[in-house]
Amino acid sequence: MAKVKSLADLRKMKEDLQSKVHLREKGDNYENLVQVKVGMGTSGIASGAKEVFNFFVDELEKRSIEGVVTQTGDMGYNFAEPTIEVTIPGKEPIVFGNVDMKKADQIIESYIKNGELVEGILPENYDKIDNK
């Protein structure tokens, strides 16, 4: 590692190195952050869930939104894959179906940023095992 020559140097380094542990810090504090869960069952993956997952990971960061993106198993909405569940702190989780990149973008801009609902909300019908 390069020499740290001053406090300013150290702080700059911290900015760069923070990403190494940031994911864990977010995980530790997930209740206060936007949580996006992407259903990764076989049918989800077949219809592009992996890409949607990556999109959220990248875009939340680019748009400076502190969020936790995780994957979960099949959420039981085979007719509307890819399916995602979004939880804004203090609100009930909402499930969106048929999420492609365009829809994902809309969800970030309207729902996550401004709390405005967007089309494609599915009734909650699956069994949650997470975060009990």
Partner: protein, 597 residues
């Protein structure tokens, strides 16, 4: 740099490592490699998570899934199911013992709910062998601020204002200690970190050094700046090989990045740290003995004053602090004295790390705010007593402490209340004792330790503790008298008042506190020759219950010393003067006619 969307944390503390933590890490890495996940999933070996009872532990981030008792064979499923398909591996989740429900998030476990991790903030969170992760967590920020923006007296003021008290046992105000060291002028001063950790059952210092070694180096450097010392020494016991290795790695990295050595962060301040190894004698944890041992002399204490802050290592002013005390320093400097005071109690601000052991369900390392009650620690965090047995007492403060009982369950835990209750904080060992334990034997056990560990320099400790041990043995053997109880009490007080160092001054505590709280048990031993817990073998009697005995003669034939007599089909009888308490008869009797009294 790869952009990871998932981190897998594997406990790499001594406990979990012994239970194959290393093999788990290796095997996870292999699976990740085989599944081409190297760019998205990172495996990190961290320090101890504390929940040793359920180790080895694997935690997945950011979804905060906590897997317990993981075996190397389980890693395939973790990767295939959790990592690839997003499905939690249910069979590896923790099961809440009360609700019988699976819990995946550690925040919802009784063991973690009431904990607050300050000293242990990075243990189980970062890779201790990677300085970059420490810096990413605001590591060395406190040092940077001190060196660049603060004068030594400002640093001391914050520590004084925070009310931090030494976590090595005595509870002496840390800021005041630093101030004294700073005011003693000399051409060379030293900072010593006491990592001797002699209390059997305590392992918090080891865990901090294994899980977050940089925090100790940073704090020692800050202390050096505050007291104008340029040399730091960590006195660590040689039986802690992993902690030593992690410290060595950390020292090397800190030197390479210029965070130890000359002109740190361009401030002109020089500081370096070296290790000194102890052979593991309990008394060497006492600061004057520790210093003598570092000088190559015998590890024997000397009278204080002079305190090390005046005349310590090679006669120079030396500030000695405990590992956990140091671990609190960087956080206090970043978050401020007011923040620190908002945690814990007025007289004991902050948190304390405890090592839970003995007859408790959740054995492990916990950090809780001062002022929490024993009830919360034992029954909520500790999950209560093993096998549904009854709580009897908890020994705090190790061999120097005393036992606390049911009547103390709601006492807030802090330095002064524990002393008032006849025990002490010590380094934070907590050994839980249940109805199956005999309190006289518990006291005897600790005295055995003290007798073994006494350095022998002063008579009260060398001879007195030996005598105490003899009297306790006599009582356990059924030969004690009421006079012996008085003798125990008197002798204990004399030893406390006259011993030279803290070891002798506190060694009678287990005797005094058991006499205090369990006098009836002592009385039973001396008057009735009875040990209600059935621990003192000599006081046990094997007796035949005439109603149940059918006279099958099985016991008489198996008894190796011929202590059992009786006619065929007649009631049998055990001669207590011959019986050696081997228990052979009780196993042989098919009619439940033999019992222990």
């Amino acid at each position: 740099m790869a952009k990871y969307s998932m981190h897998i944390l594997v406990c790499g503390g001594t406990g979990c490592r012994a239970a194959q933590g290393l093999a788990i890490t290796e095997s996870l890495k292999k699976e990740i490699d085989e599944n081409n996940l190297n760019d998205t999933v990172q495996v990190i070996e961290t320090g101890c998570f504390g929940f040793c009872e359920k180790g080895p532990i694997v935690k997945i981030m950011p979804d905060n899934t906590f897997y317990v008792q993981v075996k190397p064979e389980d890693t395939k499923e973790i990767i295939a199911e959790h990592v690839i398909k997003g499905r939690k591996v249910e069979r590896l989740l923790f099961v809440d013992p009360d609700k019988k429900e699976k819990v995946s998030d550690s925040k919802h476990m009784g063991f973690y709910r009431k904990q607050l991790r300050i000293a242990l903030r990075n243990c189980g969170f970062i890779d201790p062998e990677n300085i970059e992760e420490y810096i990413g967590r605001e590591g060395y920020e406190a040092l940077g601020r001190c060196l660049t923006e603060m004068k030594p007296q400002d640093v001391i003021k914050i520590i004084k204002d925070s009310g931090l008290r030494g976590r090595g046992g005595g509870g002496f105000p840390t800021g005041l200690k630093w101030e004294i060291a700073s005011k003693n002028h000399a051409d060379q001063k030293y900072v010593v970190c006491n990592a001797d950790e002699g209390d059997p059952g305590a392992f918090m210092d080891r865990s901090i050094l294994e899980g977050d070694p940089h925090s100790i180096l940073e704090a020692m450097t800050i202390c050096g700046y505050a007291t104008a010392a340029t040399k730091g020494l960590v006195y660590i016991r040689a039986e802690y090989p992993l902690a030593i290795k992690r410290l060595q790695v950390a020292i090397k990295q800190a030197r390479e990045s210029g965070l130890l050595g000359k002109d740190i962060l361009g401030s002109g301040f020089d500081f370096d740290v070296e290790l000194r190894f102890g052979a593991g004698a309990f008394v060497c944890g006492e600061e004057t003995a520790l210093i003598h041992s570092m000088e190559g002399e015998r590890g024997e204490p000397t009278v204080k004053p002079p305190f090390p802050a005046e005349s310590g290592y090679w006669g120079k002013p030396t500030n000695v602090n405990n590992v956990e005390t140091f671990a609190n320093i960087p956080v206090i400097l970043i978050k401020g004295a007011t923040w620190f005071r908002s945690i814990g109690t007025e007289k004991s601000p902050g948190t304390k790390v405890f090592a839970l052991a003995g007859k408790i369900n959740n054995v492990g390392l916990i950090e809780v705010p001062m002022g929490i009650t024993l009830r919360e620690v034992i029954f909520e965090i500790g999950g209560g007593i093993k096998d549904g047995k009854k709580f009897k007492a908890v020994q705090t403060g190790g061999p120097s402490g005393g036992c606390l009982t049911t009547k103390h369950l709601d006492t807030p835990i802090e330095f002064d209340t524990l002393i008032a209750a006849g025990s002490m904080m010590g380094s934070g060992g907590m050994i839980v004792v249940d109805e199956d334990d005999c309190m006289v034997s518990v006291a005897k056990f600790y005295l055995e330790f003290t007798v073994e560990e006494s350095c022998g320099k002063c008579a009260p400790c060398r001879i007195g503790n030996k005598r105490l041990h003899e009297v306790l043995t006599k009582i356990c053997n059924g030969n004690g008298t009421r006079e012996d109880l008085e003798l125990l009490d008197n002798m204990s007080r004399v030893i406390k008042d006259t011993a030279l160092c803290g070891l002798g001054q506190t060694s009678p505590n287990p005797v005094l506190s058991t006499l205090d709280n369990f006098y009836d048990e002592y009385l039973e031993h001396v008057d009735d020759k009875k040990c209600r817990a059935g621990v003192c073998k000599s006081l046990m009697q094997y007796v035949i219950q005439p109603d149940n005995c059918v006279g099958c003669t099985a016991c008489a034939r198996v008894c190796p010393v011929g202590a059992i007599t009786g006619e065929r089909k007649g009631i049998h009888f055990i001669d207590q003067s011959l019986c050696i308490k081997c228990g052979a008869c009780i196993e042989k009797c098919k009619f439940n006619a033999i019992f222990i009294q």
